[in-house]
Homo-oligomer: 143 residues x 2
DNA sequence: ATGATATTGCAAATAACTTGCAAAGACATA
DNA sequence: TATGTCTTTGCAAGTTATTTGCAATATCAT
């Protein structure tokens, strides 16, 4: 979770203003567990505050992604999700039934074999995604 | 690549008909390397044949996904991609610049550590995705 | 060849997301 | 604290990928 000061820094350094809307959006992302869709963010934001427009949310999410504060995930359950970049590298587990998205702190990418394969095809990796889809414990025990 | 007979089997067994359009769509997917967007499939299909409608393509891709013949990928470069499920398990390498998608035959999922972590949170995995984004050799050497 | 049923093409509808523009807000400077 | 500049917002309208309703057509078992 990004604290107010570092956020203020990042924005001001690049000439962006610290608006109420931006504060609320980041606050919502920081105080919720796991990534959220633009729709969810819209609801959460408008619970706290009031009347923040959808286009404002999209514009700010895009800006925050560009600044590296937020990461956009294209999950296979249909919607784009957004999360604070945060400090620790992680990946995701997604329930196919309820749609819940959880972080997992494993990363398969450090494996030597895999890096070798990339060198073979002369590919320079910058990011990677590892997503596990399935059934969460709650949904499994439900029926 | 799925041969005509097994395809015919799969469709007929479930009461679906083997239309010209379906044959062409699968043929295109089978004879192209890597996954393609609906748009690309539309172009490829309409080069070979003529006048297959976009809704027909979408409807059939969805059906083929449901039947397990085709897999849909939600890549982070914006568009959904489709590929034949095929026989061998694989993952993808995606160039951020030219958008090219290549298969890689590595899979990080068999690692014991990871399966353990899933058991910890009582998650039952069914599918998983591993995508590496970066710069392909062609794009890297271009500038 | 025929009929039952699945499928197609077309056009219109969705839904997520983006954009133009005038009004409002942030903030450096006076 | 007031002012001016420049960013940002809200609104409404526009895009774009994808879906859907429906009448016409194609497939396939008989």
């Amino acid at each position: 979770m990004i604290n107010k000061f570092s956020l203020e820094e990042i924005l001001k350094n690049k000439g962006y203003k610290l608006t109420q809307q931006r504060k609320v959006i980041i606050d919502v992302l920081g105080n919720s567990n796991g990534p959220h869709t633009a729709n969810e963010i819209y609801s959460l934001v408008n619970d706290k505050n009031s009347g923040i427009n959808f286009s404002t949310i999209y514009r700010n999410l895009e800006l925050l992604v560009r600044l590296g504060i937020v990461r956009k995930l294209n999950l296979s359950n249909g919607y784009n999700h957004f999360e604070l970049t945060g400090e620790k590298h992680h990946h995701h587990v997604i329930c196919n039934k309820c749609g819940e998205v959880k972080e997992i702190d494993i990363c398969p990418f450090m494996d030597m074999d895999e890096r070798d394969k990339l060198e073979e095809i002369d590919f320079q990796p910058t990011e990677h995604k590892f997503e596990i889809y399935g059934l969460c414990s709650r949904c499994r025990n439900k029926e």
